[in-house]
Amino acid sequence: MTGPMRIGCGAGFSADRLDPAVDLARDGELDALVFECVGERTLAFGHRDRRADPAKGYNSLLETRLRAVWPLTAANGCRIVTNMGAANPEAAGRAALGVARNAGLEGQIVALVLGDDVTDRITPDTPLPHSGCTVGDIDRTLIGANAYIGADAILPALETDASLIIGGRLADPSMFLALLRHRFGWSADDWALLGAGILTGHLMECGAQITGGYFADPGHKDVPDLAFVGYPIAEVAADGSVTITKLPQAGGMVTMATVKEQLLYEVHDPASYLTPDVTADFSAVQIIGQGKDRVGLSGASGTLRPDRLKVTVAFDGGLLAEGEISYAGRGAVDRARLAAEITETRLRRVHGVTEDLRCDLIGVRSLHAHADYGTGGADTDVRLRVAGRFRDRERAEAVLWEVESLLCAGPAGGGGFRGRITPSIVTHDAFLPRADVPTRVEVLRT
């Protein structure tokens, strides 16, 4: 078993597409298919869902994905590894058994990786070093806390005969590293190999972001058949070197440029990328084109892993209120500006709003309000957006009310009001000794 290992990535975030994963499961000739579906927000909302209904709190697309993919991977001898368990891996496991029953999938083993939920270990005295305070200083309701757990926690699940491995806050690249450690027998302190495995995981974990997704800039960086961009496949050798590719019939492309952009995506110091498994070092990575849609990487390394595990502590962040209305034609920008002034004035004086408010003129100046960008002509098509964040629902509703009332009482020609109130969260980082985060594996059978 020392030939290269073929691993696909079927999802790079919680709401990612389904059809590219099905293609990989059917045609990828894969040893494993990874679904990376957890972010700070999805996890926090998972905790909230779980509190409302103990059978919820995992990725809402879990059943849809498994129904479409698991019969194919099970038939092809490919394992699925995923963190779609989010805030409730046990419930995700039961849901997976239900999918197997309905699909007539017999004799499958599901392994759950548990122990990342450390909500019970968080106290008012828990330090939040990056924020310079403790949990008790935050003055918000604690929603949940999860430690980023690594390959050590996942390996025992791979040592079972499970065709499906589900966890919660499994660190994104660690899911790939665990598969590689299991296949090649890399030891837990071979930092150079662990760093190389993390490189593979890091490149793969965002799915299409390495195969031409999130890359196209027409006329400058064109991508073929982007509507059907294929998700990535990594072919990893026992020495940790990797080739990134995709299914030949899928859209998108794998080039030196798509790989470079992903290499440092959300990376700060390339020589020191912290994971639960290793401090990975990408600074001397070599990238070599190996023909159409094949790019090879080698030279990743690593040093000692951090001695503590990072924990995301999520708190209730109140309500984000957004109200929008559009103006078009001559003088549209002046009318939208007047509408913004009226709304802000009335929110302050009539509704007593003291929180920060943000007024964007979408089409003229919105995303880049701090830079001197996008100041278009006065005669255009512009959308006013008024946004604020509130603990109090009445104030959030006042934002929507005031923008909507512009329809009759604001400047001329306003139309297309839409408003929404979205629950939001606030997260802070804590750090726990590894000994405080014991993990375990639970095995279920279909």
């Binding site: 700070e40 927000r41 990056h130 999130y214 890359f215 800039d217 400058h220 960086k221 440029a257 470079k260 952009e261 992903q262 290499l263 440092l264 995506y265 959300e266 990376v267 700060h268 110091d269 390339p270 020589a271 600074s283 001397a284 990575v285 070599q286 990238i287 962040g317 984000l320 920060d356 408010l357 943000r358 964007d360 979408i362 919105s366 995303l367 880049h368 309000a369 701090h370 830079a371 001197d372 960008y373 957006r385 946004a387 604020g388 964040r389 939001s424 969260i425 606030v426 997260t427 980082d429």
Partner: protein
């Protein structure tokens, strides 16, 4: 003869976030242009370009063998995606702010 071009003509970039910190990696397409970019697109120049959006520091890491630069900007996302009122709280669109910087080429 020298000419001035926006970075977008000679380079590509991708932005990402961690909390209130934004990072943008910048990759020069033609190795012959890398030195000009390295000399002109300094951490300080990027700080100036982003103006009041960046309340913290800008640090630059170099990947010369891949003709890449990585800019780390702290206190740069209005508190981060969970607290920001910006439609693009992740600052994902900022790669194209960076690519608007002019660079003088030989």
């Amino acid at each position: 003869m020298s000419r001035t071009a926006p970075l977008r003509e000679i380079a590509h970039a991708r932005a990402g976030d961690k909390g209130d910190t934004s990072n943008i990696s910048l990759w020069v397409k033609d190795p012959a242009d890398f030195e000009a970019v390295r000399l002109q697109i300094t951490a300080e120049a990027v700080r100036q370009h982003f103006g009041s959006q960046v309340q913290g520091t800008v640090t630059r890491h170099e990947m010369p063998h891949l003709h890449g630069l990585n800019f780390i900007m702290t206190s740069a996302l209005d508190g981060g995606v969970n607290g920001s009122l910006n439609l693009d709280g992740h600052g994902k669109s900022w790669s194209f702010i960076l690519l608007d910087m002019p660079v003088e080429l030989d």
